[in-house]
């Protein structure tokens, strides 16, 4: 990618802004708009990442920059019925449903009922206009925007999910957020920005479900910010199944308060170039953070996971397990950064990342990055990259099971320690199904 191309794409997004602004109507009067303008000027001052940037040395984003993606507000809106979108929704268990199409919250398609008192599940656009006080004090304060994609989202996002759970409230049903992306008339820029606040001793589970539709490439460039207050629990499942010719860039970052628990499970199936940045700041004592990940790549997919656990205070625990399954010419990248600051004595931090290569032409680059400044800590990391287990393969076949099914069994076995962290059984089954579907292999129970 040449300098002029990079300049061109920056000019493109800069030039689009006034048109975008003109479509925002009342939205320009909210606190969000100051953040947008601020992000736009930062975007102008910086470049999109290249292979020369240490954090991006294995991921070339230049194919993304060759497209002039347009904001959905500038594209004729396509209406969907509940029926049309039902096939994208995880079923078989109760959930609140939020539907966000190309980054824009759809009141009509969402289905949110019987919320406990004070719990808010709503549109960022609407809440920023009608009830900004709910989120204003926290919004944008717990997240570190790092690269031009993040600022592109911050400049152009006009909607997304707000989940606000006040102190002591427990949401029994998970919230399922369907982020449906793509448009048959244009190459769209989908930039939802979501914000999750879990109050003191409150609890919630979120399923963020990214799906693609249509034939056109698009850029799904998302930001998720979370605040998990004292003694609160957040279970966050991300299922990324964008179109195979789409691009997905995710920044999920947030702050955990004392005694809180954050479980994040990331499953990647779709996307041509995928980059997930996941970070948590453990800024008080007795916090638990669990990151589980499974990425399934085939054909020319490139899936890059960058995780960062920032231990700032003593007596916390983080635990990370990422696994990849790669077929054809797919490529995986994993960076696991763990920072244990000087204050963070008695930290336990574990990390394990593994990948199994189903073809000769796949490639994985992994990089653990432990930076430890406290002296009384327990940290470990391990990486294992290899093929499916030969001995188990022989064992299964020795019972009469043909090759293809035996391989599928091994794939399921391989994914099981990640998927075992999904506590909703029906949901887990559907995730299993997605593994076989995306690898085009026979399914096993």
């Amino acid at each position: 990618m040449s300098k002029t191309e990079i300049q061109n794409i920056k000019d493109w997004y800069a030039s689009q802004f006034s048109e975008y602004e003109s479509k925002l109507n009342g939205q320009t009067k909210t606190f969000l708009h100051d953040l947008r303008k601020d992000a736009l000027s930062k975007l102008n001052e910086m470049n999109f990442p290249t292979l020369k940037d240490e954090e991006w040395r294995y991921t070339n984003v230049s194919p993304i920059l060759k497209h002039n993606f347009v904001h959905p507000l500038s594209v004729e809106k396509v209406e969907y019925t509940k029926e049309e979108i039902s096939k994208y929704i995880f079923s078989g268990f109760d959930s609140h449903l939020v539907v966000i199409i190309n980054g824009i919250f759809s009141e009509e398609l969402s289905d949110i009922k019987n919320l406990p008192d004070g719990v808010v599940i709503g549109s960022l656009d609407k809440i920023s206009r009608e009830n900004p006080e709910l989120i204003k004090n926290h919004f944008g304060k717990n997240i570190k925007l790092k690269n031009a994609f993040n600022f592109l989202n911050a400049a152009y996002s006009n909607d997304g999910l707000v989940l606000y759970v006040p102190n002591n409230k427990v949401l029994e049903k998970p919230i399922q957020v369907l982020y449906l992306n793509g448009n048959d008339n244009a190459e769209v820029l989908s930039v939802p920005r979501s914000f999750i606040y879990i109050g003191k001793s409150a609890e919630a589970s979120v399923i963020a479900n990214y799906r693609g539709m249509g034939k056109n490439p698009y850029l799904s460039n998302v930001i998720n910010e979370f605040v998990i207050e004292q003694n609160a629990h957040l279970n966050y499942y991300k299922v990324q199944n964008e179109s195979q010719n789409a691009y997905h860039i995710d920044l999920t970052d947030g702050y955990q308060n004392r005694d809180s628990v954050f479980n994040h499970l990331s499953l990647s199936f779709g996307g041509l170039i995928v980059r997930n940045d996941l970070a948590s700041l453990l800024d008080d004592e007795n916090i638990q953070t669990h990151y589980y990940g499974l990425y399934v790549g085939q054909q020319n997919q490139h899936i890059d996971n960058y995780t960062f656990v920032d231990h700032a205070k003593p007596n916390c625990e983080s635990n990370e397990l990422y696994k990849g399954i790669l077929d054809d010419k797919a490529r995986g990248v994993f960076t696991g950064r763990i920072l244990v600051r000087q204050d963070a004595q008695k930290t336990n931090a574990y990390q394990s990342n593994k990948a199994v290569l189903l073809s000769e032409k796949t490639q994985v680059d992994t990089k653990p990055q432990l930076e430890i400044f406290a002296d009384d800590v327990k940290c470990s990391h391990g990486a294992a990259i290899g093929r499916l287990d030969d001995v188990a393969y022989f064992y299964i076949r020795s019972r009469g099971v043909p090759e293809a099914i035996a391989k599928s069994m091994l794939i399921k076995a391989y994914a099981s320690d990640v998927l075992d962290n999904v506590t909703i059984e029906e949901f887990k089954e559907q995730l299993n199904h997605m593994i076989f579907e995306s690898l085009h292999r026979v399914e096993v129970e």
């Binding site: 287990d389 022989f394 009469g400 069994m409 076995a413 998927l419």
Partner: protein
């Protein structure tokens, strides 16, 4: 049933089997004994089709077919079963899924209908009972979290479920306490019939009190150096292997 002629095999460039000859007829039980590293597991694995072992000579006719030309799963569908010396854990796959898949693949191969869920369940109950296994085991992942003894018992459970023609048991008795040994032996005895056969590898005479062999063979350095009846096992138990090794050296 099976006729092994001058079978030779290599692993990682090393000759392990150096001309095995063995004839097993329906209804027979053959015990194979021999010191550590003599090639007993290798023989069992080669017969089951393990791809790490390279067959360098000889032939094996199983039920009139060239066994060595078949893939491991095909051999199993034709009726070979290997109870592993070290059974493998398969997380995420329940015993039920595993066995149902295997049984139905074998049935399809023989032109039989797949079992219904009900028939399958009934079969599980019947066989689990023989081995004193809890039904709940069936929903657990294959061998995951099983003790050594439970894994061996699960091998015999699979044997009963799949009901092959030839069972190869590789040290199924090693590490079992006497109660478990009795249960496992009972399972094998239930399996035995005039139409099938068992080749069992063991180090211990004790097993042969419960599963009585028709023939006992001593495998040493990749060859069967002595064959006899069950009395040979008693003699080995008493005197070890050195006397046979010497006998071989003298005749050589």
């Amino acid at each position: 049933m099976i006729s092994i002629k001058n079978l030779q095999a290599k692993v990682e460039g090393k000759d392990i089997l150096r001309g095995i000859n063995l004839e097993v007829k329906p209804g027979e039980v053959h015990a194979i004994m021999g010191p550590n590293g003599s090639g007993k597991s290798t023989l069992a694995n080669v017969l089951a089709g393990h791809e790490s072992y390279e067959v360098t000579g000889g032939e094996v006719i199983f039920e009139g077919k060239q066994l060595l030309e078949m893939d491991p799963d095909e051999r199993a569908r034709e009726g070979i079963f290997l109870a592993f010396q070290y059974p493998v854990e398969i997380p995420g796959i329940s015993n039920a899924t595993f066995l149902k898949t295997a049984i139905n693949e074998i049935r399809k191969h023989h032109g039989q209908e797949e079992l219904t869920a009900k028939e399958f369940l009934a079969l599980i109950r019947e066989k689990a009972k023989i081995l004193g296994m809890d039904d709940s085991l069936i929903s657990r992942a294959v061998n995951v979290g099983f003790s050594g003894g439970e894994k061996k018992r699960n091998e015999i459970f699979q044997l009963l479920m799949l009901n092959p023609k030839l069972a190869l048991l590789d040290e199924t008795d090693s590490g079992l306490d006497i109660d478990a040994l009795k249960i496992v032996s009972e399972g094998v005895n239930k399996f035995k019939s005039k139409d099938n056969a068992v080749i069992l590898v063991t180090h211990y005479q004790r097993l042969l009190d419960y599963i009585v062999p028709d023939f006992v063979h001593v495998l040493y350095k990749g060859r069967i150096i002595k064959s006899g009846t069950k009395e040979l096992a008693l003699e080995l138990e008493e005197k070890g292997y050195d006397w046979i090794k010497n006998e071989v050296l003298e005749t050589a």
